[in-house]
C-alpha cells in the first residue's frame, strides 16, 4: 500500500507581491457619491492574475482529502460517495439564479420540489410534517428543542430539564442549553440507555429526552418503546437525533419508535457533499401534535398551485432566513428520486453489512466492548495499543499514511481510546479488505513509526497547542505580530 499526498509550497494568498494598478486611478468618491468622511482609506487585498489564483487553489485542493480520494470512515458522519448527477442539477440556472422573494408563480418548480421532499422525509421518518428550514444537524436540534419549549409553554407547563445519554453527540447538550434548558447526562448501561436510571431521573421537570437510535456505539436501543412510554407518561417529549438514520431506512423509523421530533442530516444519509465543513441541511419532522409550532413559512399546495403560508400563530417563528439550504435540498431530493424506496432500504442494508463485516475483521486486533451485532457503525477500543506505549491518536495518524482518512477518535467518551468506524454502503469489499490489511500492518509496525506518523501527508503532525497559544486567525494579525516583533516581512 503506497500513498503520498501532494506537497506544494503554497504561500498565503496575501503574500505575493501586488500587481501595479493599470489604467485610470480609482476614484474613491465614485463620482461624488461617497462623501469624504465615509470613504475607505485603504484596502489591503491581493491583486493577482487569474492564472496564479487558480494554481493556488488547485494546489491547495491537492493537499486536501475527500471521499472522492478514498475511504473516509469517520464514525457518525456518514461519509458516503456523493453521486455527481446531484452536483450537476444544482448548477442549472433554474436552481442557482432564483431569488427567495420572487413571486411564488415564478418559483413553482422550487416550491414543488420542497413540498415533495417534505412528504418523502415524512415517509422515511414516520412523521406527519416537516420543515426544511434548519441549515444543519445541530440547527435542526436547536429547532426541535425550540418546538419542545413552545409545546410545553402552550399547555401552560414550565419544564427546565433535557435528559440525554452520555453517548449523545456533543451538539445535543449544546442545543438544549442554547434553548435555556438544564442538561442531565445519563450514564449508559452496557452501552445502551439505563432504563431504570432513566425512570428515576424523569420528573415533571423533564421537557425532553434526546436519543439517536442506533446509538453512537452502533447499537440498536431495543428498549426504545419502553423509553418512549416513560417519557410520554411524564408529559415529556422524545427527540430523535437523525445522525444515524443511514442504518434503518425502510426497516424502522423514528416515528414508529414513538419519537415526537426528528432531524434529518441531508449531508449524511442523503449523500449531499459536506463541502469540507458545510453546507449541510437539517430538516425537522414532527408528529401531528407539534405541527402548529413549526417555523414559517410552510409550503402549501392549494388548487394546483404551490404557495407560502405564514398563518401559523403558534409557530416558533423563523430559525433561518428564507427556506433553508435550497441547493442542498435539491441534491437530497435528486438522490432520493434516484434511489427510490427500495434503493434507500438497500442503502441501509449495505451500510449495516459493510459495518458488521469490517467489525468482524477488526475486533480481534482491538477490543470490541458491548456485544456483537452493530448497525451502520461500530466503536473499537484502542486500549491494547497502550501496552506498547501508543495511543489511538498514533494509530489514526498512521492510517493517513496508508491513504485512508482516520475514523472518529475519542468519541463516544465512554469507550477508552475509542475508534468509531463507519464505512458506509458505498465502499466495496475490496476497499474494506484493504483497510483491514492496512490496520493489521500498522499494528505490526515499530511504535516509533506510529508516533512519527503521518509522514506521507502534506504536513507532519501539527503543533495544535502552538495555534491556541499564538492565536493567529488572519494574515492581518500575523503581519501585525511580525511588525510588533520588529521583524522584517
Amino acid at each position: 500500500m503506497r500513498y503520498h499526498q501532494a506537497v506544494h509550497d503554497v504561500p498565503v494568498i496575501f503574500e505575493p507581491c501586488e500587481r501595479p494598478e493599470v489604467g485610470e486611478p480609482f476614484d474613491p468618491t465614485v463620482g461624488g457619491a461617497i462623501p469624504k468622511d465615509l470613504q475607505r482609506a485603504d484596502l489591503a487585498l491581493p491583486d493577482l492574475p487569474e492564472r496564479d489564483v487558480v494554481k493556488h487553489y488547485v494546489n491547495l485542493s491537492q493537499m486536501n482529502f475527500g471521499v472522492d480520494n478514498g475511504l473516509y470512515p469517520l464514525g457518525s458522519c456518514t461519509m458516503k460517495y456523493n453521486p455527481k448527477i446531484c452536483d450537476e442539477v444544482v448548477s442549472w440556472q433554474t436552481v442557482t439564479d432564483i431569488h427567495p422573494l420572487q413571486d411564488p408563480s415564478t418559483i413553482q418548480g422550487a416550491l414543488r420540489l420542497m413540498h415533495e421532499l417534505e412528504l418523502m422525509l415524512c415517509e422515511i421518518g414516520g412523521v406527519d410534517a416537516v420543515t426544511l428550514q434548519p441549515a444543519a444537524g445541530a440547527h435542526g436540534e436547536y429547532t426541535g428543542i425550540q418546538l419542545v419549549k413552545a409545546y410545553h409553554e402552550s399547555i401552560g407547563e414550565t419544564r427546565r430539564e433535557v435528559i440525554l445519554p452520555d453517548t449523545a453527540h456533543g451538539t445535543n447538550p449544546a442545543s438544549a442549553a442554547m434553548v435555556g434548558y438544564d442538561v442531565l447526562e445519563l450514564p449508559s448501561k452496557d452501552g445502551c440507555v439505563d432504563v431504570e436510571a432513566l425512570k428515576a431521573a424523569v420528573s415533571k421537570d423533564t421537557a425532553a429526552f434526546m436519543l439517536t437510535n442506533p446509538n453512537t456505539l452502533g447499537l440498536f436501543e431495543k428498549n426504545v418503546k419502553e423509553i418512549a412510554g416513560i417519557l410520554h407518561d411524564a408529559g415529556a417529549l422524545l427527540y430523535y437525533d437523525g445522525a444515524n438514520l443511514n442504518a434503518i431506512m425502510g426497516k424502522t423509523s423514528p416515528g414508529k419508535m414513538d419519537f415526537d421530533i426528528v432531524h434529518f442530516n441531508l449531508h449524511k444519509t442523503f449523500a449531499t457533499p459536506h463541502g469540507g465543513g458545510g453546507p449541510g441541511a437539517g430538516p425537522v419532522g414532527v408528529k401531528k401534535k407539534l405541527e402548529a409550532y413549526l417555523p414559517v413559512p410552510r409550503i402549501v399546495l392549494r388548487d394546483g398551485m404551490y404557495g407560502l403560508d405564514y398563518e401559523w400563530p403558534k409557530s416558533i417563528g423563523k430559525v433561518r432566513a428564507f427556506f433553508g439550504n435550497f441547493a442542498v435540498l435539491v441534491r437530497a431530493y435528486t438522490y432520493i428520486r434516484m434511489q427510490g424506496g427500495k434503493g434507500l432500504e438497500s442503502v441501509s442494508e449495505n451500510a449495516v453489512l459493510n459495518s458488521n463485516y469490517l467489525k468482524e475483521k477488526l475486533k480481534d486486533s482491538f477490543e470490541l466492548p458491548y456485544g456483537s451485532l452493530r448497525k451502520h457503525e461500530f466503536v473499537l477500543s484502542g486500549r491494547p495499543l497502550k501496552a506498547r506505549g501508543l495511543r489511538t491518536l498514533d494509530f489514526a495518524k498512521r492510517l493517513l499514511d496508508y491513504g485512508f482518512h482516520a475514523p472518529t477518535i475519542y468519541f463516544p467518551i465512554i469507550v477508552d481510546e475509542a475508534l468509531m468506524i463507519e464505512p458506509t454502503e458505498t465502499e466495496t469489499k475490496d476497499t474494506l479488505d484493504k483497510f483491514v490489511d492496512a490496520c493489521k500492518s500498522i499494528l505490526k509496525e515499530d511504535p516509533e513509526v506510529l508516533r512519527a506518523a503521518p509522514v506521507n501527508t502534506a504536513r507532519r503532525r501539527i503543533e495544535e497547542a502552538k495555534a491556541a497559544r499564538d492565536m493567529i486567525f488572519s494574515w492581518r494579525e500575523y503581519e501585525k505580530k511580525l511588525d510588533s516583533a520588529g521583524r522584517t516581512k
Partner: protein
C-alpha cells in the same frame, strides 16, 4: 434485496444466511415494511425528471429582477466555479485531521483573512449558517460579553433577520426591543436609542447599509450612547470595498453575509454568515476558528483552534451548538476575492453605486414615483415610494416579465406604498430601460 457477489461473500464470512439477520436486534413492534416512495430512476431518467420538476422556475436571466433584501445577484467568474468544484474540497468533511486537510484549512484561514481585512475586525470565524443566524448568535454573545437581559435592534433590519433574532433571544430569555430610524435620513434615531439604553441592555444591533438602503454616518454618537455595551454591526461586505469598515468605528461584533462573494442566490440558501469580533472577546465567540501554526518540522501549517469553546468538547457549556457551517462557501468567497482582486472589487462595488444612483434618479422622474425615499448615501439598494398601491405595481411588472422590488407596506406600514429595489453590476442599461418603461405604463 438483490445482493452483489461481494455482499454475498461478506454474508458468508459473517456466517449469515440473509441480510435480514443483521436487523434481528430491531424489535418486531417497531419494524416497518419498506418505504412507500416512487421507484428509483436511472441517471438519464433522473436528469429528464429533474429538468421537468425545475423547469417552471423563472431564473433572473429570463426575468430581470430588482430583488435584494439580503440575497443578491452578482457576477461569478468562471474560475471561482472551477476552484469550488474541486472534489477534494467538496467531498471532504470538517478538517478533523489537519495533516491531510491543509488545503481546506489554509483556504478557510484565507477566508478569515479576507473578512478580517474588509471588516477591520481582529477575529472573524470560518462561517455561520447565514447573516440571520449570525445575528441570533451575536445577541447571545452580547449577553455573554456585557450581561443584561435586554438587547436593542434597529427597526431598519430585514423582517427575516428580526424573526430569527427573536427566536434565538427567546431561547436565552433575552428581551428584544426596537430602536426606530429617522424618517428623513433612514439612519438610527439617536434620541430613540438614548431613551432605550438602560442598565439591563447588553447591546445594540444596526446595519450599514441598513435594510432600507442608507449607509450609517453617526458612529461616534452611537458609540457614546452605548458606552460599555456591545455595538453589533451588520454589513454588506461588498460595500466595505468603498466605505469605512466597522472595525475602525468601534464595533464589538460584526455580522453579515458573504453570499455576495461568489455564491449564487440559490433561492436564498446556502448563504454564509460572517461573524467577527474584537480579539478580547474571542473566547466568547461562537463557531470554528482556523489558526496558523507549524508542523513538527517547523513548516507553516493550519488547524482548527480554541476548540474548547465548541460543542464536541464543552457540550452543554459550549459558546454555541454550531458544528457544520458553510465551509465550501467560505472557500468560494476567498476564491472570488482572490480572482477579482482589490482593483476588481472596488470597480464592481463602484458599478453598484453608479447603477443604484442612475436607476433611482430615473425612477424619481417617473410620474407618481419618488426615489430614493431617504436622504442618505446608498450602496446598491434603495426605497422607492409611489402613489399607486405597490401591489398593483408589482403585478403589472410581473405581467411584463419583470420581478419588481420587495414590497415594504406589510412590515413597514409607516412607509405606506413603498418598495425596496436592488440593482447590481448584473443589470444592463436595457434592464433599467425595461423597468422604467414598465413603470411609466403603470396606472
Amino acid at each position: 434485496m438483490e445482493l452483489s457477489k461481494c455482499s454475498l461473500e461478506m454474508l458468508q464470512e459473517l456466517h449469515l444466511g440473509s441480510v435480514e439477520e443483521l436487523f434481528a436486534d430491531i424489535p418486531k413492534e417497531v419494524r416497518t415494511g419498506g418505504l412507500k416512495l416512487p421507484p428509483g430512476l436511472s441517471e438519464l431518467e433522473l436528469r429528464r425528471e429533474m429538468e421537468s420538476v425545475l423547469s417552471p422556475n423563472k431564473p433572473v436571466s429570463s426575468h430581470p429582477s430588482f430583488l435584494g433584501a439580503g440575497v443578491y445577484h452578482h457576477f461569478i467568474p468562471a474560475a471561482v466555479r472551477t476552484i469550488v468544484s474541486r472534489s477534494e474540497f467538496i467531498t471532504a468533511y470538517t478538517p478533523y485531521q489537519p495533516e491531510i486537510s491543509q488545503g481546506m484549512l489554509q483556504s478557510l484561514f484565507e477566508y478569515q483573512s479576507f473578512m478580517s481585512e474588509l471588516t477591520a475586525m481582529d477575529v472573524v470565524n470560518c462561517s455561520m449558517y447565514d447573516a440571520s443566524t449570525a445575528l441570533g448568535e451575536a445577541v447571545l454573545m452580547s449577553y455573554r460579553v456585557s450581561g443584561g437581559n435586554k438587547f436593542l435592534i434597529s427597526r431598519s433590519v430585514s423582517p427575516e433577520k428580526k424573526s430569527v433574532a427573536k427566536t434565538y433571544a427567546r431561547g436565552a430569555d433575552i428581551a428584544l426591543a426596537e430602536v426606530g430610524y429617522d424618517r428623513e435620513t433612514g439612519l438610527v434615531d439617536l434620541n430613540d436609542l438614548k431613551s432605550k439604553v438602560s442598565a439591563d441592555v447588553s447591546g445594540f444591533y444596526f446595519e450599514t447599509p441598513n435594510f432600507l438602503g442608507p449607509i450609517e454616518t453617526q458612529w461616534q454618537e452611537i458609540r457614546n450612547i452605548l458606552g460599555p455595551r456591545s455595538m453589533v454591526v451588520g454589513v454588506n461586505p461588498m460595500a466595505l470595498a468603498l466605505i469605512k469598515p466597522p472595525g475602525e468605528m468601534g464595533a464589538d461584533i460584526v455580522v453579515g453575509d458573504a453570499q455576495v462573494f461568489g455564491t449564487p442566490m440559490n433561492l436564498g440558501g446556502p448563504m454564509i454568515g460572517i461573524f467577527g469580533c474584537k480579539a478580547e472577546h474571542v473566547r466568547k465567540m461562537p463557531g470554528r476558528l482556523i489558526g496558523m501554526t507549524t508542523d513538527i518540522e517547523g513548516r507553516r501549517a493550519f488547524c482548527m483552534t480554541l476548540q474548547t469553546r465548541e460543542q464536541h468538547i464543552r457540550r452543554s457549556k459550549a459558546t454555541s451548538n454550531i458544528c457544520t457551517n458553510e465551509a465550501l462557501l467560505a472557500l468560494a468567497s476567498a476564491a472570488y476575492l482572490a480572482v477579482i482582486g482589490k482593483s476588481g472589487l472596488r470597480k464592481i462595488a463602484a458599478k453598484n453605486v453608479e447603477n443604484m444612483r442612475s436607476l433611482s434618479s430615473r425612477i424619481n422622474l417617473v410620474r407618481g414615483f419618488v426615489s430614493p425615499r431617504f436622504r442618505a448615501t446608498h450602496f446598491n439598494e434603495f426605497v422607492m415610494t409611489t402613489e399607486i398601491p405597490y401591489d398593483k405595481v408589482n403585478k403589472e411588472l410581473l405581467a411584463k416579465g419583470i420581478q419588481g422590488g420587495f414590497a415594504l407596506d406589510r412590515q413597514f406600514p409607516e412607509l405606506k406604498s413603498s418598495a425596496l429595489y436592488a440593482t447590481t453590476e448584473m443589470h444592463t442599461k436595457a434592464d433599467h430601460d425595461k423597468l422604467i418603461a414598465a413603470l411609466e405604463g403603470v396606472r
